[in-house]
Amino acid sequence: MRLLSEEAIEDIALGAAVLGTGGGGDPYIGKVMAREAVRTYGPVELYTLDELDDDDLIVPAAGMGAPVVLVEKLPAGDDMIRAFEALGKYMGKTPKATMSIEAGGLNSIMPMYVAARLRLPMIDADGMGRAFPEIQMTLFTAHGITATPFAMSDERGNTILMETINNKWTETFARTLVVHMGAMSMIALYSATVKEIKKAGIPGTISLAEKIGQSIRQARLEEESPVAALCKSVGAFLLFKGKLTDVNRRVKGGWNLGEAKLEGFDEYGGASHTLHFQNENLAFSKAGEYLVTAPDLITVLDVDTAEPITTEHLRYGMRVAVIGLPCHPAWREPKALELVHPRVFGYDIDYVPVEERYG
């Protein structure tokens, strides 16, 4: 067990934005929320899975909705606790810990609020090792862990409990309900024992986010290239450096779809590439040929500061570095890959791991 300092929370928020691959919301709100919770209620205790008993119940916590709404309708805090406690009550069991289902973006941080306020351990693990747009897109699903029982609460005090036949249905119903809750709700889901998470989850991802954040912060202090430092620290590949010359967006059923064109500079001068996003960055291509796709991680960074840029913030004229990070090997198993294969997102191609082209 270790205590997370305010500096660690800053680092995790920055690293989580890198793992967010352009989606998952800007972790700024989550970071300030976690920091304030720590100041008010005490520090977050981060545990490894080995430090708990195999039978202990873990209830992950998260936010669900539109990130643009979250920056305006800030969370109440009570809503998060309400969803978390409602699930324990429904199950008739006491959760021994909480964790993140999604290490990328805001949801890496949200459980810290629950952990600090309820004085519960937070587990250093998650169910994606990145961000994905839908509830069923987790390694938990691939291992047969159900998203339900599922609790969702709004700030008014409404709580909905749900049982569904599979995790895709949880997504379908929850996505509709969240609109009625003002496009933002707090959820508790994927409850599981430590033993189950050991099998299905990705251990160490909160520490991974922290390591990424640290490498960027250190490099900035030492006036070295933060992009290079980040790549080195976690074995990411620099895919491209270029200017955004065109950003084309459209909206389709709650998806922020689009492409961004990049014109290379420095050693990439003269080349042009295209980034494809659907809330998250999902593919990177050159002249119609896909070079990197989900489930590998594609993140766009400010070329100088390595500040991660979300798909909503992509703007004409930005100067960026695009990096690719191999996803956790568990995503490449057939049952997991079918949840997040490029074809799931409409790219009719085979998945080729990033290291095979860039390694």
Partner: protein, 513 residues
């Protein structure tokens, strides 16, 4: 005729313009008392041109005075903040992420109340007048009269902020109230931060603006005067006294707008060389390209639309060192006229190198006759490289673009910049910022979320454009000159129902000038 004045940290610049013609300009050191510097600049201009001040249509002032007050934590008024949005927003109260010294200067006097709206206009909770009255009584008991009011999604519906203001006024008749909906965009913390900063600057703003007014009266100028905003548009003096926060970052904007005007170009790169730094920005349709990221002012996060400029440590006062060759970022700054070699000092600056190389004849060139020609060339190569890299970084494509060079340190740019289709060093380049203030237009903006289930995308865009145009006209623009200069559309991700956020900006010429 118009007079444009730019009150910078180092210099106060002024220009007199007749239509599109620059009649006269002046540059003098900024004084401790900002109004004195303005009076002096006005006097110089009026005497030099024998101007009949009754012929003036307007005086436009750009100032960093309010930004500096926040940065220096000086002359700020203790302020209260009321936020409507309960039961939402509790875990992130107002001023939550402010630097402690600034928060303590104005006090963490905040109050949460019921109210607020959803993105689609529904109420989060009912507005409770008694609750607000109770809060107003508490604020009154603390003796505070600077008050900021924010409400969740007030850019969508501002009615709760307005109702709150009415009640507060009943309890505290002399209250100085700032509504977040009148200042900012979507992003509650950032908009509220701006409203609180505005509220704590109001007292200073009233004093400063009346000082400006006095300075004009002293010169018998009766023409209306305006203050420039961060987006390069104008607000009238009384409006500026109410919204000082809108002056933040107006300096770089004015200088880029001035460059656009002087060169007659709408799309170009602007290189503004000062004493200590060179700012490179991009003009798109005659306006600076804006930064997409949140901007910190005095350590406080805001979401103002600031010009996207790249600042490098190169200016007319930059220190030059040999072995190893080093140019900047240290600078003698405003002491250039005493410390540089050509002015009799003993510090080698970039200005000295340009004189030594024979490009310019400034000060006493015999003082730099010992500078080695090979060394001077090496320094010039370095300057060229620094500028080339900065310009390339700001460009959006490989296509060559015109490069406009302005600012007091423009003599440093002697060579063609790589990737420039042409180099333009317009006349009056040294006072581009004051010109930018003089020629500024009036604008209006809207930033809202539209549910596309209720109307088509085209209708939503039309409505947003209409709202922005109406705001420009009510801010003083001539209706027939208003143009839409910026449209941005961001669909709401992770949300079924096709809602989209639309931001539109409109600008027009000032009526009656």
């Amino acid at each position: 005729m118009r007079i444009g004045i730019d009150v910078g940290g180092t210099n106060t610049d002024a220009v007199l313009m007749d239509g599109t013609k620059v009649i006269s300009s002046t540059k003098s050191p900024t004084t401790q008392n900002v109004s004195e510097g303005i009076t002096k600049a006005l006097k110089t201009i009026i005497e030099a041109t024998q101007l009949d001040v009754s012929k003036l249509d307007g005086v436009m002032i750009g100032t960093t005075h309010f930004t500096n007050a926040v940065v220096e934590r000086r002359r700020l008024t203790p302020t209260a903040c009321i936020r409507l949005g309960l039961p939402a927003t509790v875990c992130l109260p107002p001023m939550v992420d402010w630097p402690d010294d600034l928060a303590e200067t104005i006090g963490r006097n905040y109050y949460l109340a019921h109210g607020g709206h959803e993105f689609d206009g529904r109420e989060i909770s009912a507005f409770d007048p008694d609750e607000i009255r109770g809060i107003a009584e508490q604020i009154k008991a603390k003796g505070l009269n600077a008050i900021a009011i924010s409400s969740v999604f007030s850019p969508v519906n501002a009615v709760f902020e307005e109702k709150t203001a009415e009640i507060v006024k009943e309890v505290i008749p002399d209250a100085n109230i700032t509504l977040s909906s009148t200042i900012g965009r979507i992003g509650l913390l950032e908009r509220e931060n701006a409203a609180i900063m505005n509220a704590c600057l109001r007292e200073l703003a009233v004093k400063t603006v009346s000082g400006f007014k006095q300075a004009l009266r002293d010169m018998n100028i009766t023409a209306p005067f305006f203050i420039s905003q961060n987006d390069g548009t104008l607000m009238n003096a009384d409006f500026a006294a109410d919204y000082p926060v809108l002056t933040f970052a107006s300096g770089p904007t004015n200088s880029m707008r001035g460059a656009a005007f002087l060169s007659g170009l709408k799309d170009a790169i602007v290189v503004d060389v000062g004493g200590t730094t060179t700012d490179v920005g991009v003009l798109q349709q005659g306006f600076p390209r804006v930064a997409a990221m949140a901007v910190d002012i005095g350590g406080v996060r805001t979401n103002f639309r600031m010009p996207d400029t790249l600042s490098i440590g190169l200016g007319g006062g930059s220190l030059v060192e040999a072995e190893p060759l080093k140019v900047g970022p240290q600078s003698v700054g405003y002491e250039l006229i005493t410390k540089a070699k050509v002015f009799g000092g003993d510090t080698l600056t970039t200005t000295d190198i340009i004189v030594a190389a024979g490009h310019e004849d400034i000060g006493d060139k015999s003082k730099v006759s010992d500078v080695d020609a090979v060394f001077a060339k090496a320094v010039e190569d370095r300057i060229e490289e620094m500028v080339n890299v900065a310009v390339d970084r700001m460009k959006t494509s490989a296509t060559a673009m015109p490069v406009i060079v302005v600012g007091g340190g423009s003599i440093l740019i002697q060579r063609k910049v790589e990737g420039a289709s042409e180099m333009i060093k317009p006349e009056h380049f040294a006072v581009a910022n004051a010109i930018g203030a003089a020629i500024a237009q009036v604008g209006g903006e809207t930033d809202r979320i539209f549910a596309l289930a209720e109307m088509s995308r085209e209708e939503a865009l039309e409505q947003a454009k209409r709202e922005a145009t109406e705001r420009a006209v009510s801010a003083g623009a001539k209706a027939e000159t208003v143009e839409i200069v910026d449209v941005e559309e961001v669909p709401l991700a992770y949300l079924p129902g096709n809602a989209t956020r639309i931001m539109v900006k409109a600008v027009g010429d000032l009526a009656g000038a």
